[in-house]
């Protein structure tokens, strides 16, 4: 070995700083940054004692994001039309003066409800990101914001309606107790879903569990782990789950003891499934027509799931990210319940699937001495604009937890409509100014072209970000924010894992970038706000946050180690106590039982969210009249190289996987489209021009464009950046499910790569 040692320290000593990856994926992983002469020169991940929290390619590639030449370096002021991307560099003082002037003016002229705060998930630390700006705007007199999160709103609503909680998951080690694992619309090989998930799936498979994947795509998860792959037509998952219930009920395979003891409403569901309460019997043959899954396959799967207990039905969020997606998620939860797979090792309750609840702090945990608030008369809020607003008609406001039920908020998919139509359009406010933090909302909310129109109509927009995103291009003032490598923070894990990561500041802030907290520190006095909180140091605040967590017992040690792993004496199993001792441990629903038929839903009397799960159509379903005009169903799934639209600018990751439209060869051939040919994907909302990725790994009739590509309209309004939301619908289901996987589109060839459209 003659080559020079990699540990050559002639350019200065190499120190290793413990930090962690902290964007909005299903991870939060350990990173160890090797720093020499103030610069990160290499990155490793967890090399410590197990279980290791190993970062994926995204975190490993972070050096190219930290040092990207595309980083925002200085505050910017817009010099051309919104969206054109022309800016001049200005000083921090000038930028903050202009932001303050506009906030003060809008407050005076229109009131605080016209201040629209759009926080995003671009930063996932406990401190940095939207927390500071939100607090600041609250002290400023309040703001209007959204309810509903695209990732999971349908699944969350269904989880609350069925179980009264989002804590329905097991820790991953419990997969080793499952005899069968149903991976429904769930692709943790790409989306991570807690860092150890894929590894435990591999171990479960090696352990002899039978594994089945249900998905319109032959995902990496299906390819790697599944013994059986069942493709299903998008948006029809509820029909298959209901037909499985039909088989289980008619063959008397249900766990009647469990049903009698722990659930209410089984007979109502039975009546629906058997066709006694109107409608046809929901037989496997009925479902075959709808789902394309052969009746025999449905029946076999139902029998196997009901008789190979314990079985884990893991209901991914993607199929709930469809119009009427609540129904899929409800039907999955109910299938877990009628087979008695809940509260036992190796089972699973589906639902929202939080397991280890490190995000719920001590002060947020239920306080028995606290008086219950009658929310029907108004919901208290620390945000003056929302305080005492009535609950939304279709909200589960009687339950504790879940989505804030206030009617003062606008569903996220309707934000563009609210900006364009305001109170006249039935919205609770008339937004005039948008304050956008860590959010590429134009790209990530549905219907990007409508979003561009809406952003053009506002009086003022300020954006905090690290890059000049498609959203930042519409700002009047862009404020450069540093990355997690340039500040300290604590990252709570995602859904299920017992650990925290402490992110030690690794290098100084690049260029003139600041933390969101520092920005508030400088902006608060300009708004007449006491900057008290914002003047606290990072360390003081983080220490305070850690102090509220009963499971962080040594803050200084966590800081030194960069991670605290909380040992579990046994796997976490949701509802173990409820099932073992129901007398003393009711389910947190209104009835105290699992609600197969949900009383809260029954009271709403909304056919879009019936009391028992049902298969429902909608205006962009595969069999809708619109499907004659737009015959392809579009999926907008997660890519393995991005975290939503974050990490778009990282060359190492771009090299791994080219962005493109997944299309089955059968469909491609009909249109004369070859791999890498340019195509146009379009509907009434917009058109995307992108390379075709011809692959067997997607169902005929279905196309996939991974969400997160950056919106880039050309002079004709054709999006050449491959933003999936150029095509998605900006409406939502009554329970809040987003329709991101329910857009109908058509496709036409658009020439060879690099050439103009034909």
């Amino acid at each position: 070995m003659e080559s020079k040692s990699l540990y050559d320290e002639s350019r200065g000593p190499v120190t290793i700083v413990n930090t962690g990856c902290c964007h909005d994926c299903g991870g939060r992983c350990v990173l160890r940054a090797h720093v020499q002469d103030g610069k990160v020169i290499r990155i490793e991940s967890d090399t410590g004692p197990g279980p290791q929290i190993r970062a994926c390619a995204r975190g490993r590639a972070y050096r190219q994001r930290l040092y990207s030449n595309e980083r925002l370096k200085y505050p910017l002021r817009r010099t051309a039309k919104r969206g054109e991307g022309s800016f001049e560099t200005i000083s921090w003082d000038a930028a903050l003066d202009e932001v303050a002037e506009n906030l003060n003016r809008v407050k005076k002229e229109y009131g605080n409800s016209s201040v629209l705060f759009l926080p995003g998930a671009g930063n996932q630390g406990m401190l940095h990101g939207p927390l500071g700006p939100g607090l600041m705007l609250q002290m400023f007199g309040g703001f209007t914001r959204y309810w509903g999160i695209p990732s999971y709103e349908g699944a969350l609503f269904a989880s609350m309606a069925t179980y009264g909680t989002i804590k329905t998951g097991h820790s991953r080690d419990d997969l080793l107790n499952s005899r069968m694992i149903l991976m429904w619309g769930w692709n943790p090989a790409n989306t991570v879903w807690d860092p150890e998930t894929a590894l435990f799936l591999a171990k479960a498979r090696e352990n002899g569990a039978r594994m089945v994947a249900v998905d319109p795509r032959f995902t990496d998860t299906a390819a790697t782990f599944a013994d059986e792959y069942i493709p299903i037509r998008p948006g029809t998952d509820a029909a298959m789950l209901i037909a499985m219930a039909y088989v289980i009920i008619t063959e008397n395979l249900q766990d009647q003891t469990f049903i009698d003891k722990h659930t209410i409403g089984f007979n109502d569901y039975k009546d629906y499934v058997l066709g006694r309460s109107g409608g046809v019997p929901k037989t496997p043959r009925w479902a075959e027509e709808i789902t394309t899954v052969p009746a025999q396959t449905i029946a076999d799967l139902a029998r196997k799931y009901a008789t190979n207990k314990p079985g884990a039905l893991i209901a991914g969020w993607g199929p709930a990210r469809t119009a009427m997606g609540e129904q899929y998620s409800r039907a999955a939860n109910v299938l877990c319940a009628i087979t008695g797979n809940i509260g036992i090792n190796g089972g699973y309750a589906a639902g929202f699937m939080r397991a280890y609840s490190s995000r719920e702090t001590r002060h947020l945990q239920p306080d028995k001495n606290k008086k219950a608030v009658d929310k029907s008369k108004g919901i208290p809020s620390a945000n003056p604009v929302e305080n005492n607003a009535l609950p939304r008609a279709d909200s589960l406001y009687k339950l504790s937890g879940g989505t804030n039920a206030t009617s003062a908020r606008i569903h996220q998919s309707r934000i563009w409509d609210a900006i364009l139509t305001g109170t006249a359009g039935g919205h609770p406010a008339d937004p005039k100014l948008a304050y956008i933090v860590a959010s590429n909302c134009l790209n990530q909310y549905p219907n990007a072209n409508r979003g561009a129109e809406a952003l053009k109509s506002l009086e003022f927009i300020v954006v905090h970000d690290q890059f000049l995103t498609p959203t930042a291009k519409f700002a009047d003032i862009v404020l450069p924010v540093n990355t997690f490598m340039e500040r300290s923070d604590i990252a709570p894990p995602w859904l299920g894992s017992p650990y925290y990561i402490y992110l030690n500041k690794t290098v100084d802030s690049m260029y003139e970038s600041k933390t969101d907290l520092e920005i508030c520190r400088d902006l608060a006095p300009r708004l007449g706000i006491d900057p008290g909180f914002f003047e606290m140091s990072e360390d003081e605040i983080l220490k305070m946050f850690a102090g509220r967590r009963p499971d962080i017992d040594d803050y200084e040690k966590m800081k030194r180690d960069g991670v605290v792993k909380i040992p579990l004496s046994e796997p976490i199993v949701a509802f173990k106590d409820q099932v073992k001792d129901p007398e003393n441990n009711p389910f947190p629903t209104l009835s105290g039982k699992i609600e197969i038929a949900c009383g809260h839903l029954a009271e709403m009397d909304n056919p879009g969210i019936p009391q028992v799960p049902a298969y429902l159509g909608h205006k962009e379903h595969y069999d809708s009249p619109l499907s004659k005009k737009y015959p392809f169903q579009l999926l907008t799934t997660h890519s393995k190289i991005r975290t939503h639209s974050t990490l778009e600018m990282v060359p190492w990751l771009r090299e791994i996987e080219a962005h493109g439209l997944w299309i089955n060869p059968k469909d491609a051939q009909k249109m004369g489209i070859s791999h890498n040919d340019m195509v146009e994907v379009f509907n009434d909302r917009g058109c995307v021009r992108i390379a075709a990725r011809v692959t067997e790994r997607i169902m005929p009739g279905v196309v996939n464009l991974c969400q997160g590509g950056w919106y880039q309209p050309d002079e004709n309004g054709v999006d050449t950046g491959g933003c999936a939301n150029t095509l998605t619908d900006d409406t939502h289901s009554p329970g809040g499910a987003f329709a991101m996987n329910s857009a109908l589109v058509d496709i036409r060839p658009a020439g060879k790569p690099g050439k103009e459209a034909v």
Partner: protein, 193 residues
């Protein structure tokens, strides 16, 4: 010391490319320049009877390396104590003066050249320097699936068996690459094994 070898558990690999990026980061390999670790996807079948597997491949450090035999400059050598095959960048004359004879001689396309003219060959050395410093190879340490291992070939055989082929990898007896696999083969009858 004995011949070092590499183990890859194909049944676990999800194609996440973490090993590829970890290697590129450690060795500072730019994007669009071939790295020392490469992952390829092997797909078979037509919808819905499908098979897909990934193959992570760095170098087999053959017992009779064809690249070494093919190099006209004697730039490639095999360490007598570890069997690790390395290239001396000072001896390699680059791909304007040599038609990449080493790459063409290797059935697995291991010796790689950057896209720019005159690029010298680069290849995996099993992270000899990291191992010398008591660390694991970067791909071994990085893999979230714990699907890669590096060690003396005899020990790998003992730990993992002596399967020398995987989907996408054909063993060549005359070169005797020091590889061990837990493969996931495509079966003509469809389903995953």
């Amino acid at each position: 010391m004995a011949q070092m070898g590499i183990y890859f558990d194909q049944s676990r690999c999800t194609g996440c490319f973490t090993c590829v990026i970890a290697c590129k980061d450690w060795y500072d390999t730019p994007a669009y320049t071939p790295g020392r670790m490469r992952v390829s996807c092997i797909e078979h079948g037509t919808f819905p009877d499908l098979f897909a597997a990934y193959l992570a491949l760095s170098c087999g450090h053959c017992q009779n390396p064809p690249c070494m035999a093919a190099c006209p400059e004697s730039a490639i050598s095999k360490d007598p104590s570890t069997g690790i095959v390395t290239v001396d960048p000072n001896k390699c004359v680059g791909n304007t003066r040599c038609p990449e004879k080493c790459r063409k001689a290797c059935p697995w396309d291991v010796p790689q050249f950057a896209p720019e003219a005159g690029a010298r060959m680069d290849k995996c050395d099993l992270c000899a320097d990291r191992i010398k410093h008591g660390q694991q190879a970067i791909c071994v340490e990085a893999c979230p699936m714990h699907a890669i291992d590096i060690g003396p070939l005899d020990e790998l055989y003992q730990k993992y068996g002596d399967q020398k082929e995987a989907e996408g990898f054909v063993y060549k007896k005359r070169f005797a690459p020091a590889v061990v696999f837990k493969p996931r083969f495509y079966k003509i009858d469809g389903g995953n094994p």
